[in-house]
Amino acid sequence: MTAVFDLKGVSFRYPSGRREVLEDIALEVAPGALFSILGPNGSGKSTLLQVMLGELAAPTGSIEFGGRPIRQWSRRAIARQVAFVPQGEPLAFPLTVRQLVEMGRFPHVGVLGRSGPADEAAVLRAMERAGVQKLADRSINTLSGGERQRARIARALAQEPSTLVLDEPTAALDLHYEMETFELMRELATESGFTVVLATHNLNLAARYASNLLLLSEGRIQATGDPASVLTHETLERVYRWPVVVTPHPGPGSDAGAPQVLPLSRPD
């Protein structure tokens, strides 16, 4: 099966930057995977997502989506395949949830097209799936952080993509919304056949929900594979420069045994 994302030897530096933000990155995301990108602040997670999606052009290496170089896809064609949920979006003008979600239909409708019943149905399905149908006519400005994030996820689902990419979707969310987001992502990946790529700081939830992890530090891959092989005591202490213990999740259910990271107090 063709990998969804296939990166080989990708390096990137900002025009004004002195050092490489990404160095020699190689990764493959299989269809249906829940692929989680981890790493400290400034390790290059967001940049990696932007490069993968063709938003930033990497001068070296190859980046393919669905077997085709990412920069060769037309904007609208790729937006029907991949939806991106950004970290945050300060809105300059008030919009309702429905108006925001309707924007997800742009890749299907185009500049001059008219949206039809199929688009309306997709918008409703997306709002239901993300649990914002009751908020449809509320202004985004009146929503809590968690509700806003779900509205953005609904917009991404309205694109009817095969792949979802999320940049720290649970940053600044409380426990409830964070768990709900991870549950939804797992549901989408395992039940609806989505491929999900998400960057996160939450090592413990990534260990429980993701099928594959990639740990980034200073623009290089430190470890990649299943949770048990990536979240090891040695790797984590080196990358995060902090003492930790890694202990198996007590369960119940499918969580049992997933590696959980406990940071220790600073040794005296």
């Binding site: 938003e55 300059a92 003008f93 008030p94 108006q99």
Partner: protein
Amino acid sequence: MIGRLFLLLLACLAVAAGALMVGPVEVPLREVLNAIQGKADPTAQTIVMGLRLPRVILAALVGAGLALSGAVFQALLRNPLAEPYVLGVSSGAALGAVTAIVFGMTIGSVVALPFSAFGGAVLAVFLVLAMAGGRGRGLDTRVLLLSGVVIGAFFNAIILLIINFADVETFRAAFLWIMGSFSGASPEAALTLSIYLVPAVLGLTLLARPLNLLSVGEQSAFHLGVDVRRFKLVLYVATSLVVGVCVAGAGAIGFVGLVVPHGLRLIGGSDHRWLLPACAISGAMFMVAADTVARTVVAPAELPVGVVTALIGVPVFLWLLVRNEEFR
């Protein structure tokens, strides 16, 4: 949405009819309607069709163009305070126009004047963006507005410098460009403007959907399937052209692009599929009303119409500025 636009259109027509009626000689509505059909008595015929109608049409076109370009700038820069005059773009266009006049291109010129004003507008857009967006990603609101105001002041200074070397008649004409006026309206001027403005306004209105995406953020628009770089270029060029043509027709009239979109956002929200056509209609209405005030309130003298729009626009601007600060 169609219903609201229709109501705005009716209101606009009512204001236009009012504008055709009032002035040094009052013309009753029935005579106005007769004049439009060519059946009024000769005096009313000349006043309505020869003097007032071209002026009303010119004001409507310029108002529509300026209000629309205000809305587009606001979406492009994601800033409700952006507006051609505040951004210095109108002053850039005025400098282009004044340069053309001083170098002897006649005022009625169909091509030279709008295009030199367009050139000035493009120069101003370029300078403001370079100053406000130069150092990093994203535009800082305060830097953006400061840049616009400062660049506008600079262009105005150059205009005053240039016209000091001109003869008295040019001086007077060029001075009107700085505040804006429709006193030079003629059927030819109205026709010239409509050649540029009608297609540009219709074309921009068709871009409402991608403009919605852009108003949310460039990154989001990119990932939702908009070719952001190309689209922004098209929008900047088109709005600069609209501003250039408007300024070439009537001078730098401020704050229309601020007051009109803001009022419409309050009524019907920020969806550009409604906002852009509504701006074109309401901008026309606003400008016709402002010009009618300008030419009647101190009769027989006449105020520059820019004075009227600034008297309304500056309080709105300040109110938006204060409210915007609270948001951050």
